[in-house]
Symmetry: C2
Subunit: 314 residues, 2 copies
Protein backbone atom coordinates (compact mmCIF):
# COMPACT_ATOMS: atom_id res chain seq x y z
CA UNK A 1 0.00 0.00 0.00
CA UNK A 2 1.35 3.39 -0.95
CA UNK A 3 1.86 6.05 1.64
CA UNK A 4 -0.07 8.87 -0.02
CA UNK A 5 -2.46 10.30 2.56
CA UNK A 6 -1.72 13.72 4.02
CA UNK A 7 -3.64 15.02 7.01
CA UNK A 8 -3.28 18.77 7.57
CA UNK A 9 -4.45 20.50 10.75
CA UNK A 10 -5.42 24.09 10.13
CA UNK A 11 -6.92 27.17 11.66
CA UNK A 12 -7.65 30.28 9.64
CA UNK A 13 -5.53 32.54 7.50
CA UNK A 14 -1.95 31.28 7.96
CA UNK A 15 -3.00 27.66 7.99
CA UNK A 16 -5.19 28.13 4.94
CA UNK A 17 -2.22 29.45 2.96
CA UNK A 18 -0.28 26.26 3.52
CA UNK A 19 -3.41 24.19 2.93
CA UNK A 20 -3.71 25.85 -0.47
CA UNK A 21 -0.07 24.99 -1.16
CA UNK A 22 -0.67 21.39 -0.13
CA UNK A 23 -3.72 21.21 -2.39
CA UNK A 24 -1.46 21.97 -5.36
CA UNK A 25 1.05 19.21 -4.61
CA UNK A 26 -1.11 16.44 -3.16
CA UNK A 27 -3.83 14.73 -5.20
CA UNK A 28 -7.21 15.83 -3.85
CA UNK A 29 -8.29 12.35 -2.83
CA UNK A 30 -5.14 12.12 -0.70
CA UNK A 31 -5.52 15.38 1.19
CA UNK A 32 -7.63 15.74 4.32
CA UNK A 33 -7.68 19.24 5.76
CA UNK A 34 -8.95 19.15 9.33
CA UNK A 35 -10.35 22.52 10.36
CA UNK A 36 -10.51 23.91 13.85
CA UNK A 37 -14.10 24.65 14.88
CA UNK A 38 -13.31 26.07 18.31
CA UNK A 39 -13.79 29.56 16.80
CA UNK A 40 -17.31 28.70 15.66
CA UNK A 41 -20.07 30.77 17.13
CA UNK A 42 -23.62 31.86 16.73
CA UNK A 43 -24.15 35.43 15.66
CA UNK A 44 -27.28 37.14 14.32
CA UNK A 45 -28.91 33.73 14.60
CA UNK A 46 -26.35 32.30 12.18
CA UNK A 47 -23.90 29.45 12.67
CA UNK A 48 -20.53 30.85 11.72
CA UNK A 49 -17.43 28.67 11.26
CA UNK A 50 -14.62 31.13 10.66
CA UNK A 51 -11.82 28.62 10.04
CA UNK A 52 -13.87 26.43 7.71
CA UNK A 53 -14.88 29.57 5.84
CA UNK A 54 -11.35 30.90 5.59
CA UNK A 55 -10.17 27.54 4.26
CA UNK A 56 -13.09 27.43 1.83
CA UNK A 57 -12.36 30.87 0.45
CA UNK A 58 -8.60 30.30 0.28
CA UNK A 59 -8.89 26.94 -1.47
CA UNK A 60 -11.45 28.24 -3.98
CA UNK A 61 -9.49 31.40 -4.69
CA UNK A 62 -12.35 33.51 -3.34
CA UNK A 63 -10.43 34.86 -0.37
CA UNK A 64 -10.13 38.61 0.11
CA UNK A 65 -6.41 39.23 0.03
CA UNK A 66 -6.83 42.94 0.65
CA UNK A 67 -8.70 42.54 3.92
CA UNK A 68 -6.92 39.33 4.86
CA UNK A 69 -10.29 37.78 5.84
CA UNK A 70 -13.64 37.19 4.23
CA UNK A 71 -14.49 36.96 0.59
CA UNK A 72 -13.14 38.87 -2.36
CA UNK A 73 -15.28 41.35 -4.37
CA UNK A 74 -17.34 41.87 -1.28
CA UNK A 75 -20.07 44.45 -0.70
CA UNK A 76 -21.31 45.64 2.69
CA UNK A 77 -24.87 46.77 2.13
CA UNK A 78 -26.30 44.30 4.62
CA UNK A 79 -24.01 45.51 7.41
CA UNK A 80 -24.72 49.14 6.64
CA UNK A 81 -28.47 48.68 6.95
CA UNK A 82 -28.12 46.40 9.96
CA UNK A 83 -26.31 49.19 11.77
CA UNK A 84 -29.07 51.70 10.95
CA UNK A 85 -31.57 49.21 12.40
CA UNK A 86 -29.60 49.02 15.64
CA UNK A 87 -28.21 45.55 14.94
CA UNK A 88 -24.75 44.52 16.17
CA UNK A 89 -22.06 45.74 13.80
CA UNK A 90 -18.92 44.53 15.60
CA UNK A 91 -18.63 41.35 13.55
CA UNK A 92 -18.63 42.30 9.90
CA UNK A 93 -20.35 39.99 7.43
CA UNK A 94 -20.21 40.87 3.76
CA UNK A 95 -23.23 40.41 1.51
CA UNK A 96 -21.66 37.50 -0.39
CA UNK A 97 -20.10 35.91 2.68
CA UNK A 98 -23.49 36.01 4.38
CA UNK A 99 -24.89 33.49 1.91
CA UNK A 100 -22.49 30.84 3.23
CA UNK A 101 -23.62 31.38 6.81
CA UNK A 102 -27.34 31.51 5.99
CA UNK A 103 -27.17 28.38 3.83
CA UNK A 104 -25.16 26.50 6.45
CA UNK A 105 -27.42 27.54 9.31
CA UNK A 106 -30.52 26.48 7.38
CA UNK A 107 -29.02 23.09 6.58
CA UNK A 108 -27.78 22.50 10.13
CA UNK A 109 -31.28 23.24 11.41
CA UNK A 110 -32.65 20.79 8.85
CA UNK A 111 -30.46 18.12 10.42
CA UNK A 112 -27.49 17.87 8.02
CA UNK A 113 -24.08 17.46 9.59
CA UNK A 114 -21.49 20.21 9.49
CA UNK A 115 -19.14 17.90 7.62
CA UNK A 116 -21.74 17.03 4.97
CA UNK A 117 -22.60 20.68 4.47
CA UNK A 118 -18.92 21.62 4.28
CA UNK A 119 -18.27 18.83 1.77
CA UNK A 120 -21.15 19.95 -0.43
CA UNK A 121 -20.28 23.64 -0.32
CA UNK A 122 -16.58 23.16 -0.96
CA UNK A 123 -17.47 20.90 -3.91
CA UNK A 124 -19.83 23.53 -5.31
CA UNK A 125 -17.06 26.09 -5.06
CA UNK A 126 -14.74 23.85 -7.04
CA UNK A 127 -12.56 22.59 -4.19
CA UNK A 128 -11.41 19.03 -4.84
CA UNK A 129 -9.61 18.36 -1.55
CA UNK A 130 -11.64 17.53 1.52
CA UNK A 131 -12.13 20.11 4.26
CA UNK A 132 -13.32 18.34 7.40
CA UNK A 133 -14.50 19.97 10.62
CA UNK A 134 -12.54 18.51 13.51
CA UNK A 135 -15.84 17.42 15.08
CA UNK A 136 -19.57 17.57 14.43
CA UNK A 137 -20.04 18.50 18.06
CA UNK A 138 -19.80 22.07 19.33
CA UNK A 139 -16.49 23.10 20.86
CA UNK A 140 -16.25 26.71 21.97
CA UNK A 141 -12.91 28.31 22.72
CA UNK A 142 -13.07 30.74 25.61
CA UNK A 143 -10.37 33.10 26.73
CA UNK A 144 -9.65 33.45 30.41
CA UNK A 145 -8.26 36.98 30.50
CA UNK A 146 -7.60 39.94 32.72
CA UNK A 147 -11.06 41.13 31.62
CA UNK A 148 -12.68 37.86 32.68
CA UNK A 149 -13.78 34.83 30.72
CA UNK A 150 -14.51 35.90 27.15
CA UNK A 151 -16.13 34.13 24.23
CA UNK A 152 -13.50 33.72 21.58
CA UNK A 153 -14.94 36.11 19.00
CA UNK A 154 -15.60 38.67 21.69
CA UNK A 155 -11.88 38.52 22.51
CA UNK A 156 -10.65 38.17 18.93
CA UNK A 157 -12.87 40.50 16.95
CA UNK A 158 -14.85 42.44 19.55
CA UNK A 159 -11.81 43.41 21.66
CA UNK A 160 -9.21 42.88 18.96
CA UNK A 161 -7.08 40.61 21.18
CA UNK A 162 -6.35 43.43 23.63
CA UNK A 163 -7.14 41.55 26.87
CA UNK A 164 -4.21 39.74 28.49
CA UNK A 165 -4.65 35.98 28.11
CA UNK A 166 -4.25 33.87 31.25
CA UNK A 167 -5.48 30.56 29.83
CA UNK A 168 -7.60 29.07 27.08
CA UNK A 169 -10.56 26.78 27.55
CA UNK A 170 -12.17 24.59 24.92
CA UNK A 171 -15.69 24.22 26.24
CA UNK A 172 -17.33 21.05 25.02
CA UNK A 173 -14.10 19.47 23.83
CA UNK A 174 -14.02 16.75 26.47
CA UNK A 175 -17.47 15.55 25.44
CA UNK A 176 -17.01 16.08 21.71
CA UNK A 177 -16.07 13.31 19.35
CA UNK A 178 -13.21 13.91 16.94
CA UNK A 179 -14.60 13.36 13.46
CA UNK A 180 -14.29 9.61 12.79
CA UNK A 181 -12.80 10.27 9.34
CA UNK A 182 -10.08 12.32 11.02
CA UNK A 183 -9.25 9.56 13.48
CA UNK A 184 -9.43 6.97 10.70
CA UNK A 185 -6.98 8.98 8.59
CA UNK A 186 -4.54 9.27 11.49
CA UNK A 187 -4.65 5.48 11.89
CA UNK A 188 -4.56 4.72 8.19
CA UNK A 189 -1.75 2.51 6.82
CA UNK A 190 -1.82 4.97 3.88
CA UNK A 191 -0.74 7.89 6.08
CA UNK A 192 2.21 9.73 4.55
CA UNK A 193 2.36 12.76 6.82
CA UNK A 194 0.55 14.83 9.38
CA UNK A 195 1.15 18.51 8.75
CA UNK A 196 0.41 21.08 11.43
CA UNK A 197 -0.12 24.24 9.44
CA UNK A 198 1.36 27.57 10.61
CA UNK A 199 -1.69 28.48 12.66
CA UNK A 200 -1.83 29.81 16.19
CA UNK A 201 -1.04 26.79 18.38
CA UNK A 202 -3.12 27.96 21.33
CA UNK A 203 -6.38 28.79 19.59
CA UNK A 204 -6.24 27.01 16.24
CA UNK A 205 -4.40 23.73 16.79
CA UNK A 206 -4.86 22.92 20.46
CA UNK A 207 -8.69 22.78 20.20
CA UNK A 208 -8.16 19.96 17.70
CA UNK A 209 -5.65 18.26 19.96
CA UNK A 210 -8.06 18.62 22.90
CA UNK A 211 -10.60 16.23 21.37
CA UNK A 212 -10.70 12.83 23.03
CA UNK A 213 -8.49 10.33 21.22
CA UNK A 214 -6.54 12.79 19.10
CA UNK A 215 -3.38 12.94 21.20
CA UNK A 216 -3.56 9.15 21.53
CA UNK A 217 -3.87 8.82 17.75
CA UNK A 218 -0.87 11.11 17.33
CA UNK A 219 1.09 9.01 19.81
CA UNK A 220 0.29 5.89 17.78
CA UNK A 221 1.10 7.50 14.44
CA UNK A 222 2.91 5.43 11.83
CA UNK A 223 3.90 8.46 9.74
CA UNK A 224 5.75 11.61 10.75
CA UNK A 225 4.13 14.75 12.03
CA UNK A 226 5.66 17.95 10.75
CA UNK A 227 4.74 21.48 11.82
CA UNK A 228 5.45 24.71 10.04
CA UNK A 229 6.31 27.56 12.36
CA UNK A 230 3.76 30.38 12.59
CA UNK A 231 6.51 32.64 13.95
CA UNK A 232 8.90 34.51 11.67
CA UNK A 233 11.73 36.50 13.19
CA UNK A 234 10.11 36.15 16.60
CA UNK A 235 6.82 37.62 15.42
CA UNK A 236 3.50 36.29 14.16
CA UNK A 237 2.75 37.16 10.53
CA UNK A 238 -0.82 37.97 11.55
CA UNK A 239 -2.82 37.56 14.70
CA UNK A 240 -2.04 37.33 18.38
CA UNK A 241 0.30 34.30 18.51
CA UNK A 242 3.36 36.20 19.74
CA UNK A 243 1.34 38.35 22.13
CA UNK A 244 -0.30 35.23 23.59
CA UNK A 245 3.04 33.50 24.01
CA UNK A 246 4.34 36.39 26.07
CA UNK A 247 1.15 36.48 28.14
CA UNK A 248 1.31 32.74 28.74
CA UNK A 249 4.88 33.10 29.97
CA UNK A 250 6.54 31.37 27.02
CA UNK A 251 9.76 32.63 25.50
CA UNK A 252 9.23 34.51 22.26
CA UNK A 253 10.33 32.63 19.19
CA UNK A 254 9.72 29.70 16.91
CA UNK A 255 11.25 27.20 19.36
CA UNK A 256 8.48 27.81 21.88
CA UNK A 257 5.89 26.58 19.42
CA UNK A 258 7.80 23.37 18.75
CA UNK A 259 8.27 22.81 22.49
CA UNK A 260 4.56 23.38 22.99
CA UNK A 261 3.78 20.57 20.54
CA UNK A 262 6.47 18.46 22.24
CA UNK A 263 6.42 14.77 21.41
CA UNK A 264 3.74 15.28 18.78
CA UNK A 265 6.36 16.65 16.43
CA UNK A 266 8.86 14.70 14.36
CA UNK A 267 9.79 17.57 12.11
CA UNK A 268 9.70 21.34 12.21
CA UNK A 269 10.01 23.87 9.42
CA UNK A 270 11.31 27.23 10.60
CA UNK A 271 12.02 30.42 8.74
CA UNK A 272 15.64 30.91 7.76
CA UNK A 273 15.88 33.97 10.01
CA UNK A 274 14.91 31.78 12.98
CA UNK A 275 17.57 29.13 12.28
CA UNK A 276 19.12 29.62 15.72
CA UNK A 277 15.82 28.58 17.32
CA UNK A 278 16.33 25.03 16.05
CA UNK A 279 19.05 24.52 18.65
CA UNK A 280 18.07 21.93 21.20
CA UNK A 281 14.74 20.97 19.66
CA UNK A 282 14.04 17.25 19.52
CA UNK A 283 12.18 17.50 16.21
CA UNK A 284 14.27 17.42 13.06
CA UNK A 285 14.38 21.00 11.81
CA UNK A 286 14.74 22.50 8.37
CA UNK A 287 14.70 26.12 7.44
CA UNK A 288 12.81 27.57 4.51
CA UNK A 289 11.18 30.86 3.51
CA UNK A 290 7.96 30.59 5.51
CA UNK A 291 6.36 33.93 4.61
CA UNK A 292 3.69 32.93 2.09
CA UNK A 293 2.75 35.78 -0.19
CA UNK A 294 2.44 34.28 -3.64
CA UNK A 295 0.95 30.96 -4.64
CA UNK A 296 4.48 29.86 -5.47
CA UNK A 297 5.55 30.55 -1.88
CA UNK A 298 2.70 28.37 -0.63
CA UNK A 299 3.46 25.53 -2.98
CA UNK A 300 7.19 25.66 -2.19
CA UNK A 301 6.59 25.58 1.56
CA UNK A 302 4.14 22.69 1.19
CA UNK A 303 6.85 20.78 -0.69
CA UNK A 304 9.39 21.50 2.05
CA UNK A 305 7.04 20.20 4.74
CA UNK A 306 6.22 17.03 2.81
CA UNK A 307 9.85 16.40 1.90
CA UNK A 308 10.78 16.68 5.55
CA UNK A 309 8.08 14.17 6.44
CA UNK A 310 9.21 11.82 3.67
CA UNK A 311 12.81 12.12 4.85
CA UNK A 312 11.75 11.34 8.41
CA UNK A 313 9.85 8.30 7.24
CA UNK A 314 12.66 7.01 5.08
CA UNK B 1 -63.06 64.55 23.30
CA UNK B 2 -62.01 65.10 19.73
CA UNK B 3 -62.49 62.42 17.11
CA UNK B 4 -58.98 62.28 15.75
CA UNK B 5 -57.93 58.62 15.69
CA UNK B 6 -57.70 56.85 12.34
CA UNK B 7 -57.24 53.09 12.15
CA UNK B 8 -56.11 51.82 8.75
CA UNK B 9 -56.11 48.13 7.80
CA UNK B 10 -53.48 47.31 5.23
CA UNK B 11 -51.80 44.55 3.32
CA UNK B 12 -48.83 45.19 1.06
CA UNK B 13 -48.26 47.41 -1.92
CA UNK B 14 -51.68 48.94 -2.68
CA UNK B 15 -52.54 49.33 0.96
CA UNK B 16 -49.15 50.85 1.74
CA UNK B 17 -49.69 53.56 -0.88
CA UNK B 18 -52.83 54.76 0.86
CA UNK B 19 -51.18 54.36 4.25
CA UNK B 20 -48.46 56.73 3.06
CA UNK B 21 -51.15 59.18 1.91
CA UNK B 22 -52.86 58.94 5.30
CA UNK B 23 -49.54 59.54 7.07
CA UNK B 24 -49.34 62.92 5.32
CA UNK B 25 -52.78 64.10 6.37
CA UNK B 26 -53.19 62.57 9.84
CA UNK B 27 -50.92 63.52 12.73
CA UNK B 28 -48.68 60.56 13.50
CA UNK B 29 -49.97 60.11 17.03
CA UNK B 30 -53.47 59.76 15.57
CA UNK B 31 -52.71 57.14 12.92
CA UNK B 32 -52.60 53.41 13.64
CA UNK B 33 -51.75 51.28 10.63
CA UNK B 34 -52.69 47.66 11.29
CA UNK B 35 -50.69 45.30 9.11
CA UNK B 36 -51.76 41.88 7.91
CA UNK B 37 -49.35 39.21 9.12
CA UNK B 38 -51.06 36.28 7.41
CA UNK B 39 -48.38 36.46 4.70
CA UNK B 40 -45.59 36.07 7.27
CA UNK B 41 -43.40 33.05 6.88
CA UNK B 42 -40.10 31.50 7.79
CA UNK B 43 -37.55 31.28 5.01
CA UNK B 44 -33.82 30.58 5.20
CA UNK B 45 -34.30 30.48 8.96
CA UNK B 46 -35.57 34.06 8.89
CA UNK B 47 -38.88 35.45 10.08
CA UNK B 48 -40.22 37.44 7.16
CA UNK B 49 -43.23 39.78 7.46
CA UNK B 50 -43.88 40.95 3.90
CA UNK B 51 -46.71 43.38 4.62
CA UNK B 52 -45.00 44.99 7.60
CA UNK B 53 -41.89 45.35 5.46
CA UNK B 54 -43.75 46.84 2.50
CA UNK B 55 -45.42 49.34 4.82
CA UNK B 56 -42.08 50.12 6.46
CA UNK B 57 -40.37 50.78 3.16
CA UNK B 58 -43.30 52.76 1.72
CA UNK B 59 -43.68 54.97 4.78
CA UNK B 60 -39.94 55.64 5.03
CA UNK B 61 -39.58 56.34 1.32
CA UNK B 62 -37.25 53.36 0.97
CA UNK B 63 -39.59 51.34 -1.26
CA UNK B 64 -38.34 50.13 -4.61
CA UNK B 65 -40.72 51.73 -7.05
CA UNK B 66 -39.10 50.08 -10.04
CA UNK B 67 -39.60 46.53 -8.79
CA UNK B 68 -42.84 47.31 -6.95
CA UNK B 69 -41.57 45.37 -3.93
CA UNK B 70 -38.54 45.38 -1.67
CA UNK B 71 -36.17 48.16 -0.97
CA UNK B 72 -34.77 50.84 -3.25
CA UNK B 73 -31.06 50.96 -4.24
CA UNK B 74 -30.90 47.24 -3.69
CA UNK B 75 -28.07 44.86 -4.51
CA UNK B 76 -28.37 41.10 -4.99
CA UNK B 77 -24.96 39.71 -4.10
CA UNK B 78 -26.29 37.53 -1.29
CA UNK B 79 -28.87 35.87 -3.56
CA UNK B 80 -26.33 35.30 -6.29
CA UNK B 81 -23.95 33.45 -3.97
CA UNK B 82 -26.78 31.62 -2.23
CA UNK B 83 -27.79 30.17 -5.59
CA UNK B 84 -24.23 29.01 -6.31
CA UNK B 85 -24.27 27.26 -2.91
CA UNK B 86 -27.46 25.43 -3.84
CA UNK B 87 -29.69 27.50 -1.56
CA UNK B 88 -33.29 28.28 -2.48
CA UNK B 89 -33.52 31.22 -4.87
CA UNK B 90 -37.27 31.41 -5.47
CA UNK B 91 -37.86 34.09 -2.86
CA UNK B 92 -35.54 36.97 -3.59
CA UNK B 93 -34.03 38.87 -0.69
CA UNK B 94 -31.86 41.87 -1.46
CA UNK B 95 -28.70 42.56 0.52
CA UNK B 96 -30.17 45.63 2.25
CA UNK B 97 -33.61 44.09 2.75
CA UNK B 98 -31.97 41.09 4.38
CA UNK B 99 -30.81 43.21 7.30
CA UNK B 100 -34.42 43.82 8.32
CA UNK B 101 -35.19 40.11 8.37
CA UNK B 102 -32.01 39.12 10.18
CA UNK B 103 -32.42 41.82 12.81
CA UNK B 104 -36.08 40.97 13.35
CA UNK B 105 -35.44 37.23 13.58
CA UNK B 106 -32.67 37.75 16.10
CA UNK B 107 -34.85 39.98 18.27
CA UNK B 108 -37.86 37.65 18.08
CA UNK B 109 -35.63 34.79 19.22
CA UNK B 110 -34.42 36.95 22.07
CA UNK B 111 -38.01 37.29 23.21
CA UNK B 112 -39.06 40.71 21.94
CA UNK B 113 -42.56 41.03 20.50
CA UNK B 114 -43.15 41.60 16.81
CA UNK B 115 -44.95 44.84 17.62
CA UNK B 116 -42.09 46.15 19.77
CA UNK B 117 -39.55 45.27 17.08
CA UNK B 118 -41.70 46.86 14.39
CA UNK B 119 -42.14 50.00 16.49
CA UNK B 120 -38.40 50.30 17.05
CA UNK B 121 -37.44 49.67 13.43
CA UNK B 122 -40.01 52.04 11.96
CA UNK B 123 -38.87 54.72 14.40
CA UNK B 124 -35.24 54.17 13.40
CA UNK B 125 -36.25 54.59 9.77
CA UNK B 126 -37.94 57.89 10.55
CA UNK B 127 -41.56 56.75 10.46
CA UNK B 128 -43.66 58.73 12.93
CA UNK B 129 -46.98 56.88 12.50
CA UNK B 130 -47.45 53.54 14.20
CA UNK B 131 -47.34 50.32 12.20
CA UNK B 132 -48.88 47.55 14.27
CA UNK B 133 -48.96 43.85 13.42
CA UNK B 134 -52.55 42.63 13.61
CA UNK B 135 -51.43 40.08 16.21
CA UNK B 136 -48.31 38.93 18.01
CA UNK B 137 -49.42 35.35 17.39
CA UNK B 138 -48.65 33.50 14.17
CA UNK B 139 -51.39 33.40 11.55
CA UNK B 140 -50.52 31.66 8.30
CA UNK B 141 -52.64 32.12 5.21
CA UNK B 142 -52.92 28.94 3.15
CA UNK B 143 -54.43 28.63 -0.28
CA UNK B 144 -56.70 25.71 -1.01
CA UNK B 145 -56.18 25.38 -4.75
CA UNK B 146 -56.47 23.02 -7.68
CA UNK B 147 -52.86 22.10 -6.88
CA UNK B 148 -53.70 21.29 -3.28
CA UNK B 149 -53.21 23.24 -0.08
CA UNK B 150 -50.35 25.67 -0.54
CA UNK B 151 -48.46 27.89 1.86
CA UNK B 152 -49.19 31.45 0.91
CA UNK B 153 -45.73 32.41 -0.35
CA UNK B 154 -45.50 29.15 -2.27
CA UNK B 155 -48.71 30.18 -4.07
CA UNK B 156 -47.92 33.88 -4.31
CA UNK B 157 -44.22 33.97 -5.15
CA UNK B 158 -43.28 30.38 -5.85
CA UNK B 159 -46.13 29.68 -8.29
CA UNK B 160 -46.87 33.33 -9.11
CA UNK B 161 -50.59 32.96 -8.30
CA UNK B 162 -51.11 30.50 -11.15
CA UNK B 163 -53.07 27.83 -9.18
CA UNK B 164 -56.85 28.22 -9.16
CA UNK B 165 -58.01 29.29 -5.71
CA UNK B 166 -60.87 27.35 -4.14
CA UNK B 167 -60.73 28.81 -0.65
CA UNK B 168 -58.40 30.58 1.76
CA UNK B 169 -57.51 29.45 5.25
CA UNK B 170 -55.97 31.53 7.99
CA UNK B 171 -54.28 28.88 10.09
CA UNK B 172 -53.84 29.99 13.67
CA UNK B 173 -56.29 32.87 13.39
CA UNK B 174 -58.94 31.32 15.63
CA UNK B 175 -56.42 30.94 18.45
CA UNK B 176 -54.57 34.20 17.82
CA UNK B 177 -55.30 37.34 19.77
CA UNK B 178 -55.88 40.54 17.82
CA UNK B 179 -53.32 43.03 19.09
CA UNK B 180 -54.89 44.70 22.15
CA UNK B 181 -53.89 48.16 20.90
CA UNK B 182 -55.82 47.43 17.70
CA UNK B 183 -58.94 46.40 19.61
CA UNK B 184 -58.54 49.35 21.97
CA UNK B 185 -58.31 51.74 19.02
CA UNK B 186 -61.48 50.31 17.47
CA UNK B 187 -63.29 50.86 20.75
CA UNK B 188 -61.79 54.27 21.45
CA UNK B 189 -64.12 57.25 21.92
CA UNK B 190 -61.45 59.14 19.92
CA UNK B 191 -62.06 56.99 16.82
CA UNK B 192 -62.60 59.18 13.75
CA UNK B 193 -62.54 56.53 11.03
CA UNK B 194 -61.60 53.01 10.14
CA UNK B 195 -60.06 52.90 6.68
CA UNK B 196 -59.75 49.62 4.81
CA UNK B 197 -56.91 50.28 2.41
CA UNK B 198 -57.10 49.12 -1.23
CA UNK B 199 -55.53 45.74 -0.48
CA UNK B 200 -56.66 42.32 -1.63
CA UNK B 201 -59.72 41.57 0.52
CA UNK B 202 -59.18 37.81 0.52
CA UNK B 203 -55.55 37.62 1.52
CA UNK B 204 -54.72 41.00 3.05
CA UNK B 205 -57.82 42.18 4.89
CA UNK B 206 -59.74 39.04 5.76
CA UNK B 207 -56.89 37.56 7.85
CA UNK B 208 -57.23 40.67 10.05
CA UNK B 209 -61.01 40.29 10.17
CA UNK B 210 -60.60 36.60 11.05
CA UNK B 211 -59.03 37.36 14.41
CA UNK B 212 -61.34 36.76 17.35
CA UNK B 213 -63.13 39.92 18.40
CA UNK B 214 -62.36 41.99 15.33
CA UNK B 215 -65.69 41.62 13.54
CA UNK B 216 -67.42 42.18 16.87
CA UNK B 217 -65.39 45.35 17.40
CA UNK B 218 -66.35 46.51 13.89
CA UNK B 219 -70.00 45.78 14.64
CA UNK B 220 -69.77 47.94 17.77
CA UNK B 221 -67.93 50.79 16.05
CA UNK B 222 -68.82 54.35 16.93
CA UNK B 223 -67.11 55.83 13.87
CA UNK B 224 -67.56 55.01 10.20
CA UNK B 225 -65.63 52.39 8.31
CA UNK B 226 -64.63 53.36 4.81
CA UNK B 227 -62.94 51.14 2.23
CA UNK B 228 -61.07 52.17 -0.86
CA UNK B 229 -61.64 49.85 -3.80
CA UNK B 230 -58.62 47.80 -4.90
CA UNK B 231 -60.33 47.32 -8.28
CA UNK B 232 -60.06 49.87 -11.09
CA UNK B 233 -62.01 49.35 -14.27
CA UNK B 234 -62.78 45.80 -13.22
CA UNK B 235 -59.09 44.95 -12.73
CA UNK B 236 -56.64 44.85 -9.88
CA UNK B 237 -53.81 47.38 -10.17
CA UNK B 238 -51.38 44.71 -9.08
CA UNK B 239 -51.72 41.21 -7.71
CA UNK B 240 -54.30 38.47 -8.00
CA UNK B 241 -57.42 40.16 -6.60
CA UNK B 242 -59.46 40.04 -9.83
CA UNK B 243 -58.27 36.53 -10.69
CA UNK B 244 -59.19 35.31 -7.21
CA UNK B 245 -62.61 36.91 -7.44
CA UNK B 246 -63.35 35.00 -10.63
CA UNK B 247 -62.05 31.76 -9.11
CA UNK B 248 -64.14 32.26 -5.98
CA UNK B 249 -67.23 32.73 -8.16
CA UNK B 250 -67.68 36.42 -7.47
CA UNK B 251 -68.70 38.88 -10.17
CA UNK B 252 -65.79 40.96 -11.45
CA UNK B 253 -65.85 44.55 -10.34
CA UNK B 254 -65.53 46.95 -7.48
CA UNK B 255 -69.02 46.19 -6.16
CA UNK B 256 -68.04 42.63 -5.30
CA UNK B 257 -65.42 43.89 -2.88
CA UNK B 258 -67.91 46.13 -1.10
CA UNK B 259 -70.44 43.30 -0.92
CA UNK B 260 -67.73 41.04 0.48
CA UNK B 261 -67.15 43.50 3.35
CA UNK B 262 -70.94 43.78 3.74
CA UNK B 263 -72.14 45.40 6.92
CA UNK B 264 -68.59 46.30 7.94
CA UNK B 265 -68.67 49.17 5.46
CA UNK B 266 -70.29 52.54 5.88
CA UNK B 267 -68.55 54.19 2.99
CA UNK B 268 -66.79 53.08 -0.18
CA UNK B 269 -64.46 54.97 -2.46
CA UNK B 270 -64.51 53.71 -6.06
CA UNK B 271 -62.65 54.82 -9.10
CA UNK B 272 -64.54 57.19 -11.38
CA UNK B 273 -64.54 54.60 -14.16
CA UNK B 274 -66.35 52.15 -11.83
CA UNK B 275 -69.13 54.63 -10.93
CA UNK B 276 -71.81 52.26 -12.21
CA UNK B 277 -70.71 49.66 -9.65
CA UNK B 278 -72.02 51.87 -6.84
CA UNK B 279 -75.59 51.04 -7.85
CA UNK B 280 -77.36 49.07 -5.17
CA UNK B 281 -74.54 49.09 -2.61
CA UNK B 282 -75.59 49.82 0.95
CA UNK B 283 -72.41 51.75 1.76
CA UNK B 284 -72.34 55.42 0.80
CA UNK B 285 -70.17 55.62 -2.30
CA UNK B 286 -68.01 58.37 -3.69
CA UNK B 287 -65.86 58.22 -6.79
CA UNK B 288 -62.31 59.50 -7.00
CA UNK B 289 -59.12 58.79 -8.94
CA UNK B 290 -57.94 55.69 -7.11
CA UNK B 291 -54.80 54.91 -9.14
CA UNK B 292 -52.00 56.11 -6.88
CA UNK B 293 -48.87 56.93 -8.80
CA UNK B 294 -47.53 60.12 -7.27
CA UNK B 295 -47.42 61.12 -3.62
CA UNK B 296 -50.06 63.73 -4.49
CA UNK B 297 -52.38 60.94 -5.70
CA UNK B 298 -51.93 59.13 -2.40
CA UNK B 299 -52.54 62.21 -0.30
CA UNK B 300 -55.60 63.19 -2.34
CA UNK B 301 -57.13 59.72 -2.05
CA UNK B 302 -56.46 59.66 1.70
CA UNK B 303 -58.32 62.97 1.99
CA UNK B 304 -61.27 61.61 0.02
CA UNK B 305 -61.53 58.55 2.29
CA UNK B 306 -61.35 60.65 5.46
CA UNK B 307 -63.82 63.23 4.15
CA UNK B 308 -66.25 60.44 3.37
CA UNK B 309 -65.86 59.10 6.90
CA UNK B 310 -66.32 62.57 8.38
CA UNK B 311 -69.43 63.11 6.26
CA UNK B 312 -70.83 59.78 7.39
CA UNK B 313 -70.24 60.70 11.01
CA UNK B 314 -71.80 64.16 10.71
Amino acid sequence: MSRDLVVALSGGVGGAKLALGLSKVVAPENLLIVANTGDDFEHLGLSISPDIDTLTYALSGLDNQTLGWGRRDESWNFMEVLATLGGPAWFRLGDRDLALHVARTMRLKAGESLSAITADMTRRLGIAARVLPMSEDPVRTRVDSDEGLLDFQDYFVGRQCRPVVKALRFDGAAAARAHPDFLAALASPRLRAIVICPSNPFISVEPILALPGVREAFAARTAPCVAVSPIIGGKAVKGPTAKMMAELGLPAGAASVARRYGALLDGYVLDAQDAAEAQGLSARCVTAPTLMTSLEDKVALARVALELADALRA
